[in-house]
C-alpha cells in the first residue's frame, strides 16, 4: 500500500508516428477541457477505468459522478482510462508501453486503485484486456501488495460472481457515498501503514461493498469482531462454516442459513449529493455528447423484464430547483448545444411540464436544444420532443396479452393515438422498439408486431416506420429471473420471419444478434465457474465485444466446452425454489415479491404503477 505516482514516469509525449498509425489518436492523448488537475502526491491515486472505447466511456454519467467525488477529496486524485481500440492496443504491446492514466500518462499499475465500471456483461473480456495492457495480474489472489486494488461497480455487479475472481471488491448500488467511504478508508489505511488486507477488511464494512476473497484466499471468510460489525451493518447473519464454504465453490448458499447478504448501497437523497456540472469534454465526438441532467433514479412502473426498474428502486427525485440549476451550470461550463433530461422514464418526473417550460425558453435564447430520451408512450403529450429526430416508442411486445405479461401498461389505443398525434404535427417518422423471446411469447405476439405496424402505417401519409427488435435476456433480480433465455436458433427464426414480413410492409427492420443475447444471458446469470471462461475467451483474442465487429460467438462456445460448462444450465429455466447464484446480493426487492410478480405474469395480470399503490416490493419506501 505504498503507492504514489510521483516516482513513475509518464508515457507522454507519445510519438506522433505511433499515434498516427492508429484510428482516432485523439482518444489517447488527454488534454480534454474541464479535466481536474492531477495531484501527484495525493495518498489515493485512483484510475477510473471504463472497459469500452473513449467515446462510450465519456458518455457515461456514472463515471462522471465518481470522477468529481474523488477529485473533490483533498488527498485523492482521479483520472480516466478507457479501453484502447485494438489498433492502439497492438501499438502499446509492440512498443511495450503500459496502459496509462489519460491525464498524466502515468502507467495504470502505478495507481493505488483501479475502479472498473461494469455496464454490460460483454465488457468482461475488455476488463482483462485493460489489466493485461497495464501489466496487472488478472486474479485478485495473484496480485500482491505492490499491485493496485482493483474494484468494480455498475449495474452488472448485482450478480458479481462470474467476474468475482478478478476484483478485490465490488460496490453494489449507488456509488456516491460508497466510493467516498472507500477512498477515505484507503487513505486512512495508507497513513497508518496498513496492508492491502487491512484496507479490504475496512472496505467490507462499507454498505454495498462485497469483498469476494479475504487475504487467506478464502471466499467471503471474515473473522471475529469484524464479522459482527458487518453483520450489524448488513443486518443479516454472517456466520459461515467451513462446510458451507466448501459446499459449492461456484454458487453462494442462499437460503435461510445464507452466510452473507450484501445490501445494495442506496442514496436516499439525491439533492444531498454533488452533481457533475463540470464534466470532462471529450476530444472527439462521444456517443452521447450532450449535457445531461438526471431527473431521478428508480422507476415505479414495474415492467417485469426491466432490471433497472427493479435494482434502482425506490424512486428518488432530484429537486426541481436543483435540476434547473444543474442544467444552466452545465451549459455554462460545457458550451453544449443540447441538454438531455434523463431517467428511466422522464415523463414521470412530477413537475416535468413546468421544468420543460422553465428550461426551454432560457435554453432557446442560448441556442440549446432540449431532449428527453426516455419518454414513455403514455406520457407523450405531443408538446415536447423525445430523443433526436422523429419519435421513439417502446411497446416492447406485439400484443396486449404479452404487454400485460411483461407489465408494460400500455394499450394499443394509446400507441395508436400517440402516433396519430405525432403524424398530425408532420412528424412522419416513428421508431418502435420490441423484444423477441419474452417469456410466454407465441407466434401471435410476433404477428402482433406486424399488425401493429400496419395499423400505424394507415395513420399517416406514408410515415417512415422503423422497428428495432432486441432479444430478451432474463436478468437477475427481476420477476423473470427464473425464465429461460430463448436461445439463438429460435430467435433467429422469428427474426427471419419479421424481416420478410416487415419488408413487405415497407417498414425498416433492425435486429440484434441473437448470439450476443445468448452469451449475455449466460454471463448475467452465471456463477464463479465462468471466470475461467471469460479468461479463456480473452486469451483467444476477444476484446471490445460490445462492438458487433469484435464479438466472436465461436470463442465463447469453445471456451464453454473446454471448461466443461453447459451454457444451457445458465441460460435455461430455473426452478422457483432453487437457490440462485445472485441471491446473496440484496438489492432491496425481495424474492417473495419477484415470485408474486412472476405468478401474476403467468396469469397475464398487470400490476399498477407503485406511485398509486404500493405492492410491498421490499423497499418499504412509503413507510420511511
Amino acid at each position: 500500500m505504498s503507492k504514489s505516482t510521483t516516482k513513475h514516469q509518464s508515457v507522454y509525449p507519445l510519438s506522433r508516428e505511433l499515434l498516427l498509425s492508429c484510428e482516432k489518436p485523439a482518444r489517447y492523448v488527454g488534454g480534454e477541457y474541464n479535466l481536474a488537475p492531477v495531484k501527484p502526491d495525493a495518498a489515493l491515486q485512483f484510475l477510473l477505468c471504463f472497459p469500452d472505447a473513449y467515446e462510450v466511456g465519456l458518455s457515461n454519467l456514472g463515471v462522471k459522478i465518481l470522477y468529481d467525488i474523488l477529485n473533490a477529496l483533498p488527498d485523492a486524485s482521479c483520472e480516466y482510462c478507457f479501453a484502447p481500440w485494438p489498433d492502439f492496443g497492438r501499438v502499446l504491446r509492440e512498443h511495450q508501453i503500459p496502459l496509462y492514466g489519460l491525464t498524466s500518462g502515468i502507467p495504470a499499475r502505478a495507481f493505488g486503485m483501479l475502479g472498473f465500471s461494469l455496464q454490460y456483461e460483454l465488457s468482461y473480456t475488455t476488463v482483462l484486456y485493460m489489466l493485461d495492457l497495464a501489466g496487472i495480474p488478472f486474479r485478485a489472489r495473484e496480485r500482491g501488495e505492490g499491485d493496485p486494488v482493483v474494484i468494480a461497480g455498475g449495474p452488472c455487479t448485482v450478480n458479481p460472481l462470474p467476474v468475482a475472481d478478478f476484483f478485490d471488491l465490488f460496490v453494489i448500488g449507488d456509488g456516491e457515498s460508497a466510493i467516498k467511504e472507500l477512498a477515505e478508508a484507503y487513505i486512512a489505511n495508507k497513513r497508518a501503514g496498513g496492508k492491502k488486507a487491512d484496507f479490504l477488511r475496512a472496505a467490507a464494512k462499507v454498505r454495498g461493498v462485497w469483498v469476494p476473497d479475504d487475504d487467506s484466499g478464502q471466499r467471503s471468510a471474515v473473522s471475529g469482531q469484524l464479522k459482527d460489525e458487518i453483520a450489524t451493518r448488513h443486518s443479516v447473519p454472517l456466520a459461515m462454516t467451513q462446510n458451507e464454504r466448501d459446499s459449492d465453490r461456484n454458487c453462494q448458499p442462499t437460503t435461510d442459513n445464507c452466510p452473507l447478504k450484501i445490501k445494495r448501497a442506496v442514496e436516499p437523497d439525491l439533492d444531498a449529493l454533488p452533481y457533475p456540472v463540470k464534466p470532462v469534454l471529450p476530444n472527439i465526438e462521444a456517443v452521447h455528447d450532450r449535457a445531461v441532467v438526471e431527473l431521478f433514479r428508480g422507476c415505479t412502473r414495474g415492467c417485469r423484464f426491466c432490471q433497472a426498474g427493479m435494482i434502482y428502486r425506490p424512486v428518488r427525485e432530484r429537486g426541481f430547483d436543483r435540476c434547473k440549476e444543474s442544467a444552466f451550470s452545465l451549459i455554462d461550463n460545457t458550451g453544449y448545444d443540447e441538454l438531455s433530461l434523463t431517467s428511466l422514464s422522464s415523463g414521470d418526473y412530477p413537475r416535468i411540464r413546468e421544468l420543460i417550460a422553465d428550461l426551454s425558453g432560457a435554453l432557446r435564447m442560448r441556442h440549446v436544444g432540449l431532449t428527453l430520451p426516455s419518454l414513455r408512450l403514455d406520457s407523450f403529450s405531443g408538446d415536447f420532443k423525445s430523443g433526436g429526430g422523429g419519435l421513439t416508442f417502446a411497446p416492447e411486445a406485439g400484443t396486449q396479452r404479452l404487454r400485460d405479461i411483461i407489465n408494460k401498461n400500455i394499450t394499443e389505443e394509446e400507441i395508436l393515438s400517440a402516433c396519430a398525434a405525432a403524424f398530425q404535427r408532420d412528424n412522419a417518422s416513428v421508431k418502435l422498439y420490441f423484444m423477441l423471446g419474452l417469456p410466454f411469447e407465441t407466434q401471435e405476439d410476433i404477428d402482433g408486431i406486424i399488425a401493429l405496424c400496419s395499423k400505424i402505417k394507415r395513420l399517416g401519409k406514408r410515415p417512415k416506420i422503423s422497428v428495432s427488435c432486441s432479444v430478451f435476456v432474463p436478468k437477475p433480480h427481476t420477476p423473470f429471473q427464473w425464465c429461460a433465455q430463448i436461445g439463438r436458433e429460435k430467435a433467429e427464426v422469428s427474426q427471419r420471419y419479421l424481416k420478410a414480413e416487415l419488408k413487405r410492409l415497407g417498414v425498416t427492420f433492425h435486429y440484434h444478434d441473437a448470439r450476443v443475447s445468448e452469451i449475455e444471458a449466460v454471463l448475467a446469470r452465471g456463477d464463479r465457474a465462468l471466470s475461467g471462461v471469460v479468461e479463456a475467451v480473452y486469451d483467444a483474442g476477444s476484446v471490445l465485444e460490445g462492438w458487433t465487429e469484435f464479438f466472436n460467438y465461436e470463442r465463447w462456445t469453445a471456451a464453454f466446452a473446454a471448461a466443461n460448462v453447459q451454457p444451457e444450465n445458465y441460460g435455461g429455466a430455473r426452478n422457483l425454489t432453487e437457490p440462485l447464484p445472485w441471491d446473496f446480493i440484496d438489492v432491496g426487492v425481495t424474492k417473495a415479491f419477484l415470485k408474486r410478480e412472476y405468478a401474476r405474469a403467468e396469469k397475464g395480470l398487470t400490476t399498477e404503477d407503485c406511485r398509486k399503490t404500493c405492492h410491498g416490493c421490499g423497499l418499504r419506501c412509503k413507510s420511511k
Partner: protein, 212 residues
C-alpha cells in the same frame, strides 16, 4: 466580421477538423460571445476556418472568422478565458467587410523539426540541404498521395525550402500550397527525406504562417 488567429497545439493537434470546429463552437458558447447563427431547423454558429490541417500537424496560425460585435480585445479576453489549452486565440482583428480565410489562403509555411534518430546531425543536414537544392532546381518531386500507396507530383505545390541545424536537431522550413491545391507537410517531408536517402523516423510539424 471578426477574424481571430488561434493555435492548435498539444493534444489538439490530434483532433480532426470537425471536432476542432465543435471545440471552438463550445468555447464561444461558454464565453457567451454572441455570434451569427445559421437559419433553418438546426441553427449553428457560422464559422469560417482556414484550410483544415491533417491530424497530427500542429499550428500557431489557424484562422477563424465570425460575425460578432465585440472589439478584438474584448473578444480575445473572453474567448481565452473559456478556451482549452492548445486552442487559445493568439490575435484578433475586426473587418468592416466579410472575410473567409478558407477562400483566401493559398500557401502556408511549416516548421518541421526532424527526429533524426541515430543519423548524425551534420550528415543529415548536408543530405537534406542537397536534396532541397535538387528539388527546388528540378521540376519533378513525387510525394505519397495517401494510404493507398499512390504518388502525386508535388513540385508545382512547393514554393520554398530552408534547412536549418541547431539546438541538437535538424529542422526544415517549407512554404507549400494550401487550400484547394494543397500539399501536406507530412507527405512533403517524407518525400524530401526519401530523396535525401534518409530514414523517416518522424517529425514534429507546425504550421506557422498562412499566406494569401
Amino acid at each position: 466580421m471578426l477574424l481571430f488567429e488561434f493555435e492548435k497545439t498539444g493534444a489538439f493537434r490530434y483532433i480532426p477538423h470537425v471536432d476542432m470546429l465543435r471545440a471552438v463552437t463550445r468555447t464561444l458558447r461558454r464565453a457567451r460571445i454572441e455570434c451569427g447563427y445559421s437559419h433553418g431547423f438546426n441553427p449553428h454558429i457560422l464559422l469560417y476556418f482556414s484550410p483544415p490541417l491533417p491530424i497530427g500537424t500542429a499550428s500557431r496560425c489557424e484562422q477563424c472568422a465570425l460575425d460578432c460585435v465585440l472589439s478584438a480585445e474584448e473578444f480575445l479576453e473572453r474567448y481565452n478565458r473559456a478556451a482549452p489549452a492548445g486552442l487559445k486565440a493568439l490575435s484578433a482583428a475586426v473587418f468592416p467587410y466579410p472575410v473567409n480565410p478558407a477562400a483566401k489562403v493559398n500557401k502556408a509555411r511549416y516548421e518541421i523539426v526532424l527526429n533524426t534518430g541515430k543519423v548524425e546531425i551534420k550528415s543529415c543536414f548536408a543530405a537534406l540541404s542537397a536534396a532541397a537544392r535538387e528539388v527546388l532546381a528540378g521540376d519533378l518531386f513525387e510525394v505519397s498521395a495517401g494510404r493507398d500507396g499512390g504518388v502525386k507530383e508535388a513540385r508545382p505545390l512547393l514554393h520554398d525550402i530552408a534547412v536549418r541545424a541547431g539546438g541538437g536537431a535538424v529542422a526544415v522550413d517549407a512554404v507549400l500550397s494550401a487550400g484547394n491545391r494543397n500539399l501536406r507537410a507530412d507527405r512533403f517531408i517524407e518525400g524530401l527525406l526519401k530523396r535525401a536517402g534518409l530514414n523517416y523516423t518522424g517529425a514534429d510539424i507546425t504550421r506557422v504562417t498562412l499566406y494569401q
